[in-house]
């Protein structure tokens, strides 16, 4: 039901008009002063407000202005006992729908109200349209900024080129990946790209029709392995068979390449290490078969013995390699158990008894009374101890000494093996944990080994979040220290 507020010093309409309007469905309220009128109009939703031009407390136009400021959709009329052209114009400027002279008749009022209703309807429609448009724009700009934010935060470079070879869009990563300072949308981009990419992109730009084929190349942007990228090029489809341009996605693959290089280097080293003992064995076999070379029986026996040593070392190497390759997967499938480290040490010492007795080496174990337990796979822990212990025997002097100590503190179990052997030269120290590194000198000449033992130890220790280091003085001895996290219930 439409509601009307009438602000006038006197009752402006006759009783019968009031009755007619009520019958027509209007809800009418009246007030005699401007201040109350403003208050009522602002706090309620009147469709129509009729304001007497000359109120006792306010100028009617002032009231009109105050209401319109807050409720622009309210249709206001100025009613005037003394109509005046200038005031009518001003009222219209302030947003009045009509300027209605007194006395008010039913017909006159009906006319103005129905005109006002249309006025109001148009206003509300216009306002809704405005709101809708605003919301659409907001959504659009949100989408646009989201698109931009996403493209700028992805690690890959995205570069869009139209079919004329002009730059349409690029994100930050594409500048970084192509090592470019800046680009301007619209500029001819091809000449700024590396030759391999120009070739790649040109094929797509010059194509007759759309293809879903994707071209993928890898290239160096900054030499010396500083920046290596993968560049993927594809068409942007338009209509059926056509394309509107080319999108180039670049990805930094420097790290991946580094890993590949390390891997292939490792494979090369492995191949070399596998080949060396084979070459030696083959050499012995050839010499033993060579009629031109005369050998004593002792020499023949020695060569056979040496061949079998080399074959043994080859087995050891293969086992070590398998251990290393298993290690990465193993972390996931470990069978963890609570282990008493001292037990592992004692059983390892027993296992190697023959070997250290051969060199007359004295083995001392210093352990705290109560050794904290650790949680690990038994096989791996005994590998740590046996690799370090066998090194301590191999690189020890005859009549030497090995001191093993074990003690725990708050978080770690500390385990160390100290030998009184040949020690490690300062120049060799950085390479001790490196794959296939074996110090070569007079003292190590007759010591066999794969060069993988300490690599394996370090890998195992670190996979349990432990630490390993060593102290050594050439000619005096070496001490390896291992820290492993203890198991807490």
């Amino acid at each position: 039901m439409a509601s009307i507020l009438i602000i006038d010093n006197e009752h402006p309409i006759r009783k019968d008009i009031y009755t007619f309007l009520t019958r027509d469905g209007y809800d009418i309220r009246t007030t005699f002063n401007g201040a109350e009128g403003i208050e009522l109009a602002i706090t309620n939703d009147f469709e129509f407000v009729m304001i007497e031009q000359k109120l006792s407390d306010y100028d009617g136009l002032k009231v009109l202005q105050s209401i319109k400021q807050v409720k622009p959709e309210t249709v206001c009329f100025i009613i005037a006992s003394e109509p005046c052209y200038e005031i009518a114009v001003e009222a219209a400027n302030l947003g009045a729908c009509s300027y209605v002279p007194k006395p008010l008749s039913y017909e006159g009022l009906s006319f103005h109200l129905s005109k006002g209703a249309k006025h109001r309807q148009l206003y509300i429609e216009a306002r809704n349209l405005r709101r809708e448009r605003y919301n659409n724009l907001l959504e659009l700009s949100r989408e646009k900024s989201m698109f931009k934010t996403v493209l700028n935060s992805i690690n890959g470079g995205v570069l869009v080129i139209n079919s004329d070879g002009a730059l349409v869009y690029f994100n930050n990563a594409s500048l970084v990946n192509l090592n470019l300072d800046n680009l301007e949308p619209g500029e001819p981009i091809l000449k700024k790209l590396p030759p391999q990419i120009i070739k790649q992109v040109s094929e797509y730009i010059l194509a007759d029709k759309f293809t879903s084929k994707v071209s993928e190349i890898e290239l160096e942007i900054i030499p010396n392995n500083k920046l290596y990228i993968q560049s993927v090029c594809s068409h942007i489809p338009r209509n059926n068979d056509n394309f509107s341009g080319v999108v180039l996605v670049t990805r930094n693959i420097t790290q991946k390449r580094e890993i590949e290089q390390v891997k292939s280097q490792f494979v090369s080293m492995v191949a070399h290490e596998l080949k060396s003992p084979l070459v030696a064995v083959e050499g012995f076999l050839q010499i033993l078969q060579n009629p031109e070379i005369k050998l004593t029986d002792e020499k023949k026996d020695e060569f056979i013995k040496r061949s079998s040593e080399r074959v043994k070392s080859l087995f050891q190497l293969v086992n070590d390699l398998l251990d290393i390759s298993r290690m990465d997967k193993k972390e996931k499938y470990r069978e963890l158990e609570v282990i008493n480290f001292l037990e592992v040490v004692q059983s390892t010492v027993n296992l190697f008894e023959l070997e250290f007795k051969k060199k007359n080496i004295l083995v001392k174990i210093n352990a705290d009374e109560k050794i904290p337990m650790i949680k690990a796979e038994r096989l791996e822990i005994s590998r740590i101890v046996s690799n370090l212990f066998s090194n301590a025997i191999k690189y020890n002097k005859t009549d030497g000494e090995i001191i093993i100590s074990l003690f725990g503190n708050e978080n770690y179990l500390n385990f160390s093996i100290e030998d009184k052997g040949i020690g490690i030269k300062d120049t060799d120290k950085p390479k001790v944990f490196q794959e296939f590194f074996r110090a070569l000198n007079k003292q190590t000449r007759n010591v066999s080994g794969t060069g993988l033992g300490l690599t394996i130890v370090k890998r195992i220790v670190e996979s349990y979040h432990g630490k390993i280091n060593f102290e050594s003085e050439y000619g005096t001895g070496t001490k390896f220290n291992v820290k492993l996290p203890i198991f807490k219930n």
Partner: protein, 133 residues
Amino acid sequence: MNIKKILLVDDDFDLIEQNKLILESKGFEVVTAESAEKGFRLFEKELPDACVVDLIMEHHDSGFILCYKIKKTEHGKKIPVIILTSATYETGYKFSASTDEEKSWIKSDGILNKPIIVEELISKFENFYNREH
């Protein structure tokens, strides 16, 4: 060709002994060293008629460096120096002295695979002397 004395440098004692026996059976006199450093000292002392040098000893390029040092000496320029290695293309070490650039920095007069094939080695020596004289 008049090769009498050959210097063998290799850090693998088994291979030194084998190659020494093979070369001696062909009538050469063989002197041996088990490191690049000792090899160079022995070269200076013995002034051999040919050198056979293992590539990977203490370091991955020990053989190259020893070759380079030998070839810089007056005597070294006059004799063939052959590099011996099991680190070949098949095992992933990509080198050969095929391009001019590689020839310019690899100072050896040939690269041979292990194990040594004596006939191959001798023909390398012959090639060198035929070219030089």
